[in-house]
Structures are given as structure tokens and as C-alpha cells.
């Protein structure tokens, strides 16, 4: 079976601001998880079933959260509200979110001490998606991303941030 996590993992990768990246997700409008990338090395092997559940749960969470925020937002502010969710924080992690007008959802979980805005990070991942994924003629829109060019781009960007 084909795993979606990249073979290279980073043990305790810390960025310049001491923020630790956990997992990067990319979903499309339908809920298909196009990309999942874990930045923390896991000693145990990747369990396919668990991963599928994680993907489903994450999308469900983001979708429900967005719906909820839209419902409680006062009517007068609704038109001006461009991004219902930017990030949320728990004791264990922060979850940063970027949704494009085209329905793509980028999310990254980080350590709770993230002081820098991860919106810039997610925007950069979006740019990498544009450069390496959709420009690739062999890639079909809406399918899982398994492109070495994209992985390399993400790698290089993350490495550059850590230095």
C-alpha cells in the first residue's frame, strides 16, 4: 500500500522562533486529503487506517469549525469576514488554517508556542503548490499529491526557516 508520509522526517525540527512543526495537511473542497506531511519523526510505523481516520477527522473538524464560526458571526460583520478561521490553540498544539477561494484548505499543526504568523507559511506552501503541483501536466487536479518536486520544495522551505 502506498503511504503518503514522506520517507524523510525531521526529528524535533525547530524553527528560528522555537516553533516546532507537527503536521501539514492539504485538502480540497470535496474533503479529499491531497497531501499530509509529518515533520516529527514517529518511532512506530505508519498505520494506514489510523492515518485515514486522522485525515477525515481533521477535515471534518475544519469544516465544522468554519460552519460554526459562520453561524455565530453577527450578520453585519459577515460580509466583511474574509477568513473565518486563522488558527486555534489548545494546550497541546496550535492549528493554523488557510482556505483559498478555489476551495483548497491548507492546515499546519504546530507547538503551542508559535509566536510567528503561520499564515505566511501556509501562503508559501500555496505558492509551492502552484509552482510544483498544478503546473505539472502529469498531475490530475483533486488527486493525491505524490510529486518529488513538491516534496523537495517544501523540504527546502522548511529547512530555510529552521536556520
Amino acid at each position: 500500500t502506498h503511504t503518503h508520509t514522506h520517507t524523510h522526517t525531521y526529528t524535533h525540527l525547530r524553527m528560528a522562533s522555537r516553533t516546532q512543526l507537527y503536521t501539514l495537511y492539504i485538502f480540497n473542497r470535496d474533503g479529499t486529503c491531497l497531501y499530509i506531511r509529518k515533520f516529527i519523526s514517529d518511532s512506530k510505523a505508519v498505520d494506514e487506517k489510523e492515518l485515514e481516520i486522522e485525515k477525515k477527522n481533521m477535515f471534518g473538524l475544519l469544516f465544522t469549525l468554519k460552519t460554526f464560526v459562520n453561524q455565530i458571526t453577527p450578520r453585519t460583520l459577515k460580509d466583511q469576514e474574509k477568513e473565518p478561521i486563522r488558527y486555534f490553540q489548545t494546550e497541546q498544539y496550535q492549528l493554523h488554517y488557510l482556505e483559498t477561494v478555489s476551495g483548497l484548505r491548507f492546515a499546519i499543526s504546530t507547538s503551542p508556542d508559535s509566536s510567528l504568523s503561520m499564515q505566511g507559511f501556509l501562503s508559501k506552501i500555496y505558492r509551492l503548490y502552484v509552482d510544483y503541483v498544478i503546473r505539472n501536466p502529469s498531475y490530475n487536479i483533486g488527486t493525491k499529491i505524490d510529486l518529488p518536486g513538491f516534496n523537495k520544495g517544501v523540504d527546502q522551505y522548511v529547512k530555510a526557516l529552521a536556520s
Binding site: R29, D30, G31, T32, K56, F63, D79, K82, T100, V101, S102, G103, L104, S123, Y126, R127, Y129, V130, I134, R135, I141
Partner: protein
């Protein structure tokens, strides 16, 4: 006259969109859009326009040779445009940082002032007819038609129809179902080229169910 939409909800959405249009609201002013178009264009990687024109010309010629029928060639070019459109939308959104358009007027201007400028380097204008769910994009100096002359036997060829497909594909990815027609063409003797865009339907948000 109302647009033929798939569902009552969609009809509702379209009439709301049209209603907003008539109030001529703009979250982003026209001048700002033009500036954004110019700025983004200056940052884009450029390709030689002659190379583009020649390549496209070779493509169209090959299609004509393969299919022989002008109508089929038009359809194929439009389909190709559609496949470009579904990809180009993300490049457009990522590079301009533009957020959701609030009404069809903003959509029209985004395409003409920003999209056409960014990707083709030309300045396009938006015109409206009597329908608020239909607009036209008028432009001159399309780089694709440089050096091109249509022979008599190909007078029904919509040479630039690929652009119609691009617009249709791009809007499809932002929940709008439109039809695009190449109404006028500089190649056919018109003073400007014109693409007419008609909003047919606004798609509702659908999510994969748990048991899919």
C-alpha cells in the same frame, strides 16, 4: 428574464448577486484592481510573445489538420482552455492574494483588469448589457493572434476561443458555472475582440459524506 438555474437555491443566489451588482458596490476600487494587475504582471515570469503566438498557431494548425472540421476544432480549443483554467485559477489567487469577489461586477473586473493583464499583458474592458448576470470582456492586441490571418475557408474558426475555456474553467473552480462565447474577433474584422460571459449557476458547497 431570469437565468435558467439548476435549483431554486441557485436562482436565489443569482438574483442576490445581480441585486448587489446594481448597487455598484466595490470592495476593491477599479483603480486598485488596475494597479494590482500591473504590479502582478511586472512580477510574472515572461515568455517571448512571438514564441507564444507561433506555438499556439502551430497547435491550431495541427488541430485543423487532425479534425478537418472547424466546429470540432473550436470545441477542442475550448476544452483545452478549460483544462488551463482549472489550474490557472490557483496561480491567479496565489499571486494576487485576492479574496472572494462579492458580486459579479467584481468578478468581471478581476478577470479583465487583473487576469488579462497578468497572463496576457493586455488591458481589457468590461461592458454590461441589459442583463446583470451577463458581461463582456473587450480587448485588443491579443498576443495569440499576432501574425495571424484567417483564410476564407476558416472564417468560422474561433481562433481565440481557448480564452473562453480558460475563463469557464477558472470560474468553475470558484463555484460559478458560466458559458463563454467569442462574440467578436479582431481576426474577423471587428475593431475589438469580445468574450461574453453568462452566469448560469452558482454551485453550493457539497461535502463527501461519511459513507462515501
Amino acid at each position: 428574464r431570469k437565468a435558467r438555474a439548476g435549483s431554486a437555491a441557485s436562482r436565489e443566489l443569482i438574483s442576490r448577486v445581480s441585486e448587489r451588482n446594481s448597487r455598484f458596490e466595490h470592495a476593491m476600487s477599479l483603480a486598485k484592481m488596475q494597479r494590482l494587475g500591473d504590479n502582478t504582471f511586472s512580477q510574472m515570469e515572461k515568455v517571448n510573445s512571438e514564441l507564444l503566438a507561433m506555438t499556439y498557431g502551430a497547435l491550431v494548425t495541427t488541430l485543423i489538420k487532425d479534425f478537418q472540421d472547424v466546429k470540432t476544432v473550436n470545441q477542442e480549443l475550448e476544452k483545452m482552455g478549460y483544462n488551463i483554467g482549472i489550474r490557472i485559477i490557483d496561480e491567479f489567487l496565489a499571486k494576487t492574494g485576492i479574496s472572494q469577489c462579492r458580486n459579479l461586477k467584481e468578478t468581471a473586473h478581476s478577470i479583465a483588469k487583473i487576469g488579462f493583464k497578468m497572463f496576457l499583458g493586455i488591458n481589457a474592458e468590461v461592458t454590461w448589457g441589459s442583463n446583470t448576470y451577463q458581461f463582456s470582456i473587450e480587448f485588443k492586441g491579443n498576443p495569440l493572434v499576432e501574425f495571424v490571418e484567417l483564410p476564407e475557408k476558416l472564417k468560422d474558426l474561433d481562433y481565440s476561443i481557448i480564452l473562453c475555456g480558460v475563463i469557464r474553467g477558472a470560474l468553475n473552480m470558484v463555484q460559478m458555472v458560466v458559458s463563454c462565447e467569442l462574440k467578436r474577433s479582431e481576426l474577423k474584422g471587428d475593431p475589438v475582440s469580445e468574450i461574453q460571459v453568462t452566469l448560469k449557476q452558482i454551485m453550493q458547497e457539497k461535502v463527501k459524506g461519511d459513507d462515501d
